[in-house]
């Protein structure tokens, strides 16, 4: 039911909302896909990557370069984006997955920054800081105009299909294996699961969808710029995922929506205020997003999604919904890796 209602809303949206809001919705859809793909690493494997922006950017540049430098049809370019994303993820993952937690994060940060500096420095190929245009002429007609309903439906349809594939994937044996590995890699290794190979596969799939998101972003924006690969983009995706809730499949998508919406709404709210009181025009976007990040880290370890889920369950049990109220034992909580209680308490010389 809620699924149908959601789908109905998405279909109705472009007819109700202004063109600009439709553009924002398209952006939310793309970042939702990016964040959910990121969560395959974060939530399902417990790995923090700061190189995800690079995979996103590589997808975008693949599409833009193919369209700009060759006469290849649009479809081929669109399909190449996720493939290149996956290929890059294969290389990055192969090298990075030998490393534990923090070194994994720092290594992906380093590799991502190298990719970023290549995009920035190789001006003759990528256009560098002047960005690389994806001209309207190179995109098939009905989807070539930003803010149009057809482009919106095109993006939403692809994102929905990709999310469906991801959903099926994480609810298959593969997804359960990943989660088992996250709880205890050593135990998983012990029962004969090739942990590294599974994680590499997860990394490649994550890169595939990140690349697709990057390709869509290039179509949506009509250009690509090295900033797509910058590590701060990865940090923002981390914020989206944690804000929405990493233990829920749809949590990061919710987080993406919230961050994009929040950023758009704080733009232009404060300038008059700051000009009057501080003599300068500022947006306070950093202050707002920073406060959200702190709040999530301290008060909302389960994210907004996790909180909603809890509230819904609580309401259900209060209403005495038929069958199993959560009377016995502790309420179904987060997986242990979120470390709500002593689960992550440092034991031994860690």
């Amino acid at each position: 039911m809620p699924l149908l209602a959601g789908a109905g809303l998405l279909v109705a949206a472009p007819f109700v909302l202004s063109d600009f809001k439709v553009i924002l919705l398209g952006e939310i859809a793309i970042f939702a896909l990016l964040a959910v793909s990121y969560n395959l690493l974060l939530g399902y494997c417990g790995l923090v990557s700061f190189g995800h922006a690079a995979l996103f950017g590589i997808g975008g540049y693949t599409l833009a370069l193919i369209l700009a430098k060759t006469g290849t049809p649009f479809v081929v370019a669109l399909v190449s984006a996720p493939i290149m994303g996956a290929a890059a993820a294969l290389v990055m993952g192969f090298l990075a997955l030998r490393l534990a937690q923090i070194y994994f994060a720092l290594f992906t940060l380093a590799v991502g920054q190298v990719a970023w500096s290549v995009a920035n420095k190789w001006v003759s190929f990528t256009g560098g800081d002047d960005s690389l245009a994806v001209t309207a002429a190179s995109i098939p007609d009905p989807i070539s105009s930003p803010g149009s309903e057809s482009l919106y439906f095109f993006i939403v349809a692809i994102v929905a299909a990709a999310l469906l594939v991801l959903y099926l994937m994480v609810n298959s044996a593969f997804g359960y294996t990943l989660q088992a590995m996250r709880e205890s890699p050593t135990r998983a290794e012990f029962v004969g699961i090739p942990v590294r190979r599974y994680r590499l596969l997860a990394f490649v799939i994550s890169g595939l969808f990140a690349g697709l998101a990057g390709g869509l972003f290039a179509v949506h924006n009509h250009f690509v710029h090295p900033e797509m690969l910058f590590w701060l983009v990865s940090a923002q995706v981390l914020l989206m995922s944690l804000l929405g809730g990493v233990h829920l499949f749809w949590g990061p998508a919710l987080g993406a929506g919230l961050v994009v919406y929040l950023r758009d709404s704080v733009q232009g709210v404060f300038p008059e205020l700051t000009e009057k009181h501080l003599g300068q025009i500022l947006t306070l976007e950093g202050l707002t997003l920073g406060a959200v990040a702190l709040a999530v880290a301290i008060f909302l370890p389960l994210g907004v999604g996790g909180m909603l889920q809890r509230a819904v369950r609580l309401a259900a049990s209060r209403l005495g919904a038929r069958g199993r109220a959560s009377g016995e034992g502790p309420a179904p909580g987060p997986p242990a890796f979120l470390g709500t209680a002593a689960a992550e308490e440092p034991r031994g010389r860690r």
Partner: protein, 442 residues
């Protein structure tokens, strides 16, 4: 428990903000302001009197729906020193225009947006301005990447975009199109103006250093191309490309000194240029070689302050402290009265862009895009630094550049450029043949 934490967090944020506000309230820069003002005002009193005499009776207040203009800048971080002033320049121009009866009898209105120096954010904000605010025109941008992204948007959506600050020549030359115009100097005018002065001087052995992105490379190439054309014996013994926002220039400074060049051309801007100069001083850099800077306006002059070595050769788009023309002094005074600040280069450029747009709309007699675009081509107006023309072929304006060398001022509390050589933008602007060649190369 959670409540307690919530309270603590809230208190923390509150304390931080209060601290910030109290710091600003104490006035970060208490010392020299008053003296400077008196100087500026003193020197402009006579001019002002004249203006008052000439002033016409108050015109009718503008009526009708406003002409809305979207303004896009990176308002914080490294660009703030240019863009905060630019917005004030835009505002000053708009209030003058509206006080004088508006444009086509209608008031002009600005909608300012922050780009965070990001092309992606800039395009999203542009879409918001055009679709939500329904602005008729676009102005602004700093950083060539953002300018290029907004320019592409303007091209696809057929909306006029006047680039008021960003300098990379690519925007109008290589990638120029019907809807993009630039009212400011570009890297060619600024670079070549300095080159014409350096061609008269004896230095031949050069090292160049510039930030490693489009603008930095354009600025170095545009300078060196002209210099070598005017003076073929000039040789470049090394090219250095530090990243933008580089905090430590020591290794670059020591490397340059080993080359023993006659002169060093530096195209860094803002904080990078300040870092380079201040860190180079104690190495005896300025006793061993001559620094030639892309430009040096108040932002750098003030920040380096009393340490500024004498004899740095640099261009400036608005050395108001030495310009005796009534137009320049009037702008300086008006701007000071409106904002309490001395105008930096951004203020002039924002002001000029607004005047250009208003004049074009007046000339076209309509706000319709194609008519205004036609009106902008070959438009000539008077600005605080003199008359400029927007060339019809590539939509590039030709403002003046002054080239001088640094000296500690006896009158003003900051160093200035002296022995200014005015270079007319029309003398050094890319020729139409050059623009055609660049466009063919794309």
């Amino acid at each position: 428990m959670a409540l307690k934490r919530c309270l603590m967090l809230f208190l923390m944020v509150l304390a931080l903000s209060l601290g910030a506000l109290s710091l600003t309230a104490c006035g970060g820069d208490p010392t020299p302001m008053v003296i400077e003002v008196e100087k500026v005002v003193e020197r402009t009193v006579e001019v002002e009197k004249e203006v008052v005499v000439v002033a016409t009776p108050t015109p009718a207040a503008p009526a009708g729906p406003p002409i809305k203009v979207g303004v896009l800048y990176g308002l914080s971080s490294i660009a703030a020193v240019y863009t905060q002033g630019a917005v004030k320049g835009h505002n000053l121009a708009v209030s003058e225009i509206n006080a004088a009866g508006g444009v086509l009898g209608r008031p002009m209105e600005l909608a300012v947006r922050e780009t965070h120096l990001s092309p992606t954010v800039a395009v999203r904000e542009t879409q918001s301005l055009v679709l939500e605010e329904e602005v008729d025109f676009l102005m602004g941008t700093i950083s060539s990447g953002v300018a290029q992204a907004v320019s592409e948007f303007a091209k696809e959506n057929r909306i006029i975009f006047i680039d008021s600050l960003a300098q990379s020549s690519t925007t109008t030359a290589n990638l120029g199109h019907r809807y993009v115009f630039r009212s400011a100097t570009d890297t060619v005018i600024s670079g070549r103006a300095v080159a014409t002065v350096m061609a008269e001087r004896p230095e031949t052995k050069y090292v160049t250093i510039g930030p490693d992105y489009a603008f930095g490379h354009d600025a170095v190439n545009d300078f060196m191309g002209k210099l070598q054309e005017l003076k073929p014996e000039v040789e470049v013994v090394a090219e250095l490309w530090p990243p933008m926002l580089n905090p430590d220039f020591t290794p670059f400074i020591t490397a340059i000194l080993e080359e023993k060049p006659d002169a060093v051309y530096a195209s860094m801007w803002g904080g990078d240029q300040i870092n380079f100069i201040k860190q180079a001083i104690p190495f005896g850099f300025f006793d061993q070689t001559t620094l030639v800077a892309y430009n040096m306006d108040l932002d750098i002059l003030k920040a380096v302050g009393a340490e500024m070595p004498e004899g740095i050769v640099a261009g400036s788009g608005f050395p108001w402290y030495s310009l005796d023309t009534p137009a320049a002094q009037k702008f300086t005074t008006d701007y000071f009265n409106a904002t309490g600040e001395q105008p930096m280069i951004g203020a002039l450029q924002g002001y000029t862009a607004t005047l250009v747009l208003a004049a074009a709309i007046e000339k076209a007699g309509t706000t319709e895009t194609e008519a205004v675009a036609d009106a902008l081509e070959d438009l000539t107006i008077d600005t605080p630094t003199g008359r400029i023309t927007i060339r019809a072929f590539d939509h590039q304006a030709d403002p003046m550049i002054w080239v001088g060398s640094s000296v500690q001022s006896e009158e003003l509390p900051f160093p200035i450029l002296t022995d200014l050589v005015p270079v007319s933008g029309s003398d050094v602007i890319l020729s139409i043949a050059e623009v055609e060649a660049r466009r063919a190369g794309q």
